[in-house]
Symmetry: C2
Subunit: 338 residues, 2 copies
C-alpha cells in the first residue's frame, strides 16, 4: 500500500495511459497527484470521478509522495528524479536518462522482477522496442540460453509521440491529395514511406535506438555475452511496434517447444496459425497490454535458431503498462517503500 503516489508528465500520451491503467487496475494507493511542466500545470484531469488540478513539477511537489511514475523527456527526468529521491520517494522512470546507470535497475516484470528489489530509489523502464523483445525472448532464454539475436523493427509513429502520430495522419492526408506536408517529428516524409533511422548516430553506424536494443537487453538479462544486431525502421503505422526476430540458443529448441514456451509465458499471447492467416498485426494489437508472438519457425540458416514475429502496443507494454506493472511489483514485494 502506497500512501500517496504521483504521475509525472501526466498530460503526455504515455502519462494519459498511466492514468487510465491506475484507474482500472488494482495498485493499492491512498491519494494521487498529477505533475507536469509549466505548459500543462493548472489544467484539470478527471480521475475515478474526481477532478484534479495538475500541479507544477518542482522539488517540493514530492514532499509526502511515496511513489512517482514518470514519463518525461530525458532532460526533465535528469532533473526531477533526484528531487523525488532526496525526499524519500521511489521513482519508476520511463525516460532513457537513468536506464544504463549501474546503480539503477532496469526492469520488465515478466523478465527480471528480482532486479527491482535492489533499487536505490530509482527503477527504470526500458525503451519500447526493447521491452516487447525481452518479454518474447525470456521463455526461450530460460529454456535454451540465448546467445545471439538478429532483429529488424517496424516501428509505429506513436513512438515519436502525439506529434509523430499527427504527422502520419496529416502527411497521409496531404499525400492523398498530391500535396506536400511539413513533418514535425520526422526528418523525412513517413506517409507511404519507410525511414531506416530512429534516433541519432551512436556507435559504429548504429543509431541510439538500435544501441538501446543491444545494451538494455544485456542489462535486463544480466548477461553481456548476449549479442544483438538490430536494425530499427520507422513505418507508416500509427501505433504498435512490430519486430522480426531471430534468436540463436546454446541448447536446441524445437518448433513445438518454442510454441509451448510462448503459449505458457506470462505477458505473451501466441497468435500463430499461418494456414488460416492468423498472426499478430499492429491494427489488432493496439490497446492491448500483451506482447503478441506469431510466425514461429525453426531457423533455416542455423541449427539452433528460432525465428518469429512480435507485435506490441508501444505506448502500453512498451511504456505505461510496464511502469504500472513495476509499481504493482513494488507493492507486492514491499521493497523500500518508506
Amino acid at each position: 500500500m502506497f500512501d500517496t503516489i504521483a504521475v509525472v508528465g501526466a498530460t503526455g500520451a504515455v502519462g494519459r495511459l498511466i492514468r487510465t491503467l491506475l484507474a482500472e487496475r488494482e495498485l493499492p494507493f491512498g491519494r494521487i497527484k498529477f505533475l507536469a511542466s509549466e505548459r500543462s500545470a493548472g489544467s484539470t484531469i478527471e480521475f475515478r470521478g474526481e477532478t484534479h488540478v495538475v500541479e507544477l513539477l518542482c522539488p517540493d511537489a514530492f514532499d509526502g509522495i511515496n511513489l512517482a511514475i514518470g514519463s518525461t523527456p530525458d532532460p526533465v527526468a535528469k532533473e526531477f528524479v533526484p528531487w523525488a529521491v532526496d525526499r524519500g520517494c521511489v521513482v519508476i522512470d520511463e525516460s532513457g536518462y537513468w536506464r544504463m546507470d549501474p546503480t539503477v535497475p532496469l526492469v520488465v516484470p515478466e523478465v527480471n522482477p528480482e532486479a527491482a528489489r535492489n533499487h536505490r530509489g530509482i527503477i527504470a523502464s526500458p525503451n519500447c522496442s526493447t521491452t516487447q523483445m525481452v518479454v518474447a525472448m525470456k521463455p526461450l532464454h530460460d529454456a535454451g540460453r540465448i546467445r545471439r539475436v538478429v532483429v529488424s523493427t517496424y516501428q509505429a509513429t506513436s513512438g515519436a509521440g502525439v506529434v509523430g502520430q499527427a504527422d502520419l495522419e496529416n502527411g497521409t492526408h496531404m499525400a492523398c491529395h498530391g500535396k506536400d506536408y511539413e513533418y514535425q517529428a520526422f526528418a523525412h516524409p513517413i506517409a507511404f514511406n519507410l525511414i531506416p533511422q530512429i534516433g541519432s548516430p551512436k556507435h559504429a553506424g548504429y543509431t541510439s535506438e538500435e544501441m538501446k536494443m543491444v545494451l538494455e537487453t544485456q542489462k535486463i538479462f544480466g548477461d553481456d555475452s548476449i549479442r544483438v544486431c538490430p536494425t530499427c525502421v520507422r513505418v507508416p503505422v500509427s501505433n504498435c511496434h512490430s519486430e522480426s526476430i531471430l534468436v540463436e540458443t546454446e541448447k536446441k529448441i524445437t518448433l513445438d517447444q518454442a510454441r509451448e514456451l510462448f503459449a505458457s509465458a506470462p505477458g505473451i499471447k501466441l497468435v500463430d496459425d499461418l494456414p488460416n492467416g492468423k498472426y499478430p498485426m499492429p491494427r489488432d494489437c493496439s490497446g492491448e497490454d500483451a506482447t503478441f508472438v506469431g510466425r514461429v519457425r525453426e531457423d533455416l540458416s542455423c541449427d539452433n535458431g528460432i525465428a518469429f514475429w512480435c507485435v506490441s502496443d508501444n505506448l502500453r507494454k512498451g511504456a505505461a503498462t510496464n511502469a504500472v506493472q513495476i509499481a504493482e511489483l513494488l507493492a507486492t514485494q514491499g521493497a523500500s517503500v518508506s
Copy 2:
C-alpha cells in the same frame, strides 16, 4: 540483333514497364509484337510513335518470333512458354513457374550472366524480393563467400499488382474517413497496418515468397550451402521493396571493404551517410533501375557479419529491368538466337 521480338502480358503493370524500357534502351531488334490474353487483345498500344494492336496470346502468335519477354501469372506462363519454345523462340519469363526447373537458368545479369549461355529456350527472371538481394550480395560473396543470410523484408503493395496499389490507395482513403474498405489483393487491411504473410504456406511455417528467397538465391549463386532465413512482410508503401539484410561470410569483410565493394559493384548505388540522414528510402527509389544500399555496418552479433539496408523498385529491377537486361545479355552473347 533479334529480327522480331514479342512482349507477352504487354498490358500489365510489368508489361507496360517492359515496353517503356524497350523503347528507351538499346536492345537491337527489327519488329515488335504485343501479346495478351483475351481480355486485352484487340486494344492498341503506342510504341516509338506507332500504334500497335495487341494480339491474342495463342500458339501461332509465336511463328517467326525470335525472342519473347513474358510477364504473366504462373498458369499462363506454364501454357504459353512451350508454344514459343516449340517454334524456336527464346523466352525470358518473369513468372514463378519455370524458375526452379533444373533445365532453366535463373539469371540476374549482374550476378550470374554466364548461366544465360546454357539455356534450352527458356530463361527465368527471379522473384522481385530475391533479385535486389542477390545484386547486393554479389560483391560480398565474391570477396568473402557468403555462408548465411538473415533477411526481413518491407514489401510494397505494387508486388501484388495494380490491384494491390489500388487497395493501398483506396483503403487509406477510406481509413482516413473512418470507413471500412473491402480489399481485393490482400487478406487483411494494409492501410496503416503490416501483414506478415506474402504468398501461401509452403515449407515448415515459411511462405512461398520466403521459400523463393531461399531457393532462388541458392540457384542463382549455384551454391546450395548458402543458408537463408527470410521473413517477408507487406507494408503500406506503394512501390519499392526494402530489405534489412545481414550476411555472414567465410572470410571477414571490414566495414570499409564492404562500402568499397558496394560502391564499385555494377547495378548498386550506395547511399550511406547516416550522420546526414542519407539512406535509401522507397519514395526516392521508385522509377530507378538500380539496387540501393545504405546503413552498412559490421554485425554486432557475430565476427564475420555485415548488416545493411537495401531498397529497389520491385517493378523495375525486380521485374521489367532484369528481363530487358537478360535480353540485352543474349544480344551481346549471341546465345542460341536462331
